[in-house]
């Protein structure tokens, strides 16, 4: 018995010894950079990271540390480590709405001048907006994302231009064929919908990191649309719990004609619902006001370098390599994730990746309006908006005033970071 315990102890000590040696060895040669990012299912980040490690000529080696697949859980893990000043994080895969929060907390190294020129070249302004905080570049966009209006050509030969047109067309088709799919559960997806409706109506939630905008007339117009979307006879029955995935499933089920969703639904329909796939087409996010252009949402991942990293120089060098146009194209090919540089969309391969809707994606990202993430208290804002608006079925499309007042109150409190949320 004792012999066995001693043997086990010896093994443990030996392992630690080896690990320690490994550490000092790699310090002499290639530096190991830990990239904390969710495990993107296509394996595209791994592939480009491996290529970059090789091209660095032994300067660095990128090692993956995987975060959960849900954005809020990714944030929780990152925040817990960064709050404790963990030096094992080098590269961070950040959702586009975390830049302000992480930068203000002092967790990100600002992008150095010489890197900034390389990594912002030809990048869409809307995307760069999500990478900056107080006019300083803190993160480097690697891939973007946006929502399109997906519709069925057989039931609606022309895509509706506005939300009102879409709801009218859907109601006319009836609940057996005409349903539309949106995201209105109490989660970040609802904040995306509300923000895009408000932006498309011609106003914004914030006018600066700590100042509220929310002009009454356009905001009420946006909320009235949201109320209509939730109470229509063509709304999905699970509208109060609807997410990107329930929307996709609903659309693949066949009783829907319209859906607001990200491009992942395209390959998914191809695989799961070939009949629906034959009819699927994409158009730009609908307008709220026929006289104003629509403002599609923007998602995606920006790379940040941790302020506690021991190898910031190598980390920025790795970032420069990871976001090279050829790598962006590779990520789009493998994972279907839209590039952040406009010139990549000129490549012929892009049309194969997004057959028939490459231009819509490009235009959507170009015209996109980010969520109010310039506020370091974005998380408070997001929680407050969710609380104020959910369930969306309670918004009266004919009288959106009470919903507007509620939203204003909550946003005001969130900006001041007062009270519970």
């Amino acid at each position: 018995m004792w012999r066995r315990v001693t043997a086990a102890l010896g093994l443990v000590i030996a392992t630690f010894g080896v690990a320690a040696c490994g550490g000092s060895d790699s310090d002499k040669g290639a530096v190991t950079l830990n990239w904390f990012i969710f495990n993107e299912p296509s394996g595209a980040p791994q592939k480009i990271a491996e290529a970059c490690s090789k091209q660095s000529g032994g300067a660095y080696k990128i090692n993956f540390e995987y975060l959960p697949s849900q954005a809020d859980q990714q944030r929780e893990q990152l925040v817990r480590r960064l709050g404790a000043e963990d030096s094992s994080l080098d590269l961070l895969g950040l959702d586009v709405v975390w830049t302000g929060e992480f930068a203000n907390a002092g967790w990100l190294k600002p992008v150095p001048q010489k890197t900034e020129g390389v990594v912002t070249e030809n990048v869409f302004d809307s995307v760069l907006q999500t990478a900056r905080f107080e006019d300083k570049l803190y993160t480097v966009p690697i891939w973007s994302n946006t929502q399109l209006l997906w519709y069925r050509k057989d039931r609606s030969p022309q895509p509706p231009k506005t939300f009102d047109e879409m709801i009218d067309a859907a109601e006319k088709l009836g609940p057996q064929k005409g349903r539309f799919q949106i995201q209105a559960n109490r989660y970040e997806g609802l904040v995306v919908l509300v923000n895009q409706l408000i932006e498309s109506a011609g106003t914004s939630i914030l006018s600066g990191p700590t100042t509220m905008k929310l002009d009454r007339e356009p905001t009420e117009r946006a909320l009235a649309i949201l109320g209509r979307l939730s109470r229509s006879s063509a709304s999905p029955s699970n509208v109060s719990t609807s997410t990107e995935d329930t929307a996709r499933l609903g659309f693949e089920g066949g009783d829907s004609t319209f859906m607001i969703n990200y491009p992942f639904v395209y390959p998914s329909a191809k695989e799961n619902a070939p009949d629906v796939f034959k009819q699927i087409a994409a158009a730009k996010f609908p307008q709220v006001d026929p006289s104003k252009p629509s403002k599609p949402p923007i998602g995606g991942i920006n790379i940040g370098v941790s302020a506690f990293s021991k190898h910031p120089d190598q980390a920025f060098a790795a970032t420069e390599c990871l976001i090279k146009p050829s790598n962006q194209l590779e990520v789009a090919k493998l994972g279907g994730l839209p590039p952040v540089r406009s010139d990549v969309y000129d490549k012929p391969e892009i049309d194969k990746i997004y057959p028939g809707f490459a231009d819509v994606i490009r235009e959507s990202i170009q015209d996109a309006a980010p969520r109010p993430s310039e506020s370091p208290a974005y998380q408070d804002l997001s929680l407050a908006i969710q609380r104020a608006i959910h369930p969306t079925t309670e918004i009266d499309p004919k009288n959106p005033g009470p919903a507007y007042d509620r939203l204003r109150d909550y946003v005001e409190k969130a900006i001041k970071r007062e009270g519970l949320l």
């Binding site: 929060e101 369930p391 519970l420």
Partner: protein
């Protein structure tokens, strides 16, 4: 609880021999490591939470920290969300513990009286308790989810019922999941209590012509009271901190937030450590209050009950 008898003994015997003194010293030394470990892992975090709760601390705004006195507590106690959370938590705790008590008692009696297959009966009963709460919560979530669950295909259930889309049904599913998960724990504690009751009492009662109902009401219940109170106390404290099921099923939407979810939102999502710690300290005070109520108000009769035996 053990402190009371020791104190009593001390009062009874004022003279302490050298041997007892040495033994007592040894006893102190033996418990010291455990006490120190407890102090480190429980008292320190509790005091730290109390210290944080009177400060403005927000990880996202490192430059803004400072002492704010009771401001955080005022913010929590004047918030509708806090009181809604307390109400939800109390509802979930009281309803689920009541149902568990009845079901648990039934299960305990079955396990106690089972003539054959005792091992199998006990194991089968305990399975839900052995499943990780998060996993159990997901199982219930998927069962009631309209797109993946079987529940909406059952007779008398409307096919498109969105269980988590509305307050009452969402809360009911959460309570059902809690009951399913922890009834075995209740049954186990009650079974232990049943095992201590002398069979002779029942025989005597039977000889005197007591019915089964009378035997249960007059013998089982009174003698089970100490075990029953302990089981209720444990479950109440546990149920009051309900978190996993709600987090998995609704994330607190449809007004199903418990106080723990509220604390989580302030601490983990908002990184507002001051406000979040105030919530935690208030939950601690509430739990302490429940324990006090059980031990002092209800528990006073339990030593007497044991004394009679």
């Amino acid at each position: 609880m053990t402190a009371v008898p020791i104190g009593k003994r001390k009062a009874d015997k004022p003279a302490i021999s050298d041997k007892t003194k040495a033994e007592r010293k040894l006893a102190y030394m033996l418990v010291a490591p455990a006490v120190i470990a407890m102090l480190l892992v429980t008292v320190y975090p509790i005091l730290y939470a109390v210290a944080l709760s009177v400060q403005k601390v927000d990880l996202r705004f490192p430059d803004e920290s400072g002492f704010v006195g009771l401001d955080n507590y005022a913010a929590v106690l004047t918030s509708d969300l806090w009181w809604q959370g307390v109400l939800n938590t109390t509802l979930i705790a009281v309803i689920s513990v009541s149902i568990e008590l009845v079901l648990g008692m039934g299960l305990a009696l079955i396990m106690h009286k089972a003539l054959f297959g005792r091992g199998i009966v006990r194991t089968a009963t305990l399975i839900p308790y052995g499943i990780v709460t998060v996993v159990a919560a997901f199982a219930w979530f998927f069962a009631f989810d309209p797109s993946s669950g079987f529940v909406n295909n059952l007779p008398f259930v409307p096919e498109d019922k969105a269980w988590f889309g509305e307050h009452n049904s969402a809360l009911s599913v959460i309570i059902m999941a809690e009951v399913w998960k922890t009834t075995p724990f209740m049954a186990l504690l009650l079974l232990a209590g049943l095992a201590t009751i002398d069979e002779g009492l029942y025989e005597a009662a039977r000889v005197d012509g007591a019915t089964a109902w009378q035997r249960f009401w007059r013998i089982t219940l009174p003698l089970l009271k100490p075990a029953l109170l302990v089981a209720l106390l444990f479950r109440m404290l546990d149920a009051f901190r309900v978190f996993d099921s709600i987090f998995v099923m609704t994330r607190g939407s449809q007004d199903t937030e418990s106080v723990s979810i509220l604390g989580y939102n302030q601490l983990i999502s908002r990184l507002n450590l001051g406000l979040g710690s105030a919530v935690s300290v208030l939950i601690f005070v509430l739990v302490l209050g429940i324990a006090f109520f059980f031990v002092r108000v209800l528990g006073t009769s339990s030593p007497a009950g044991q004394g009679e035996k």
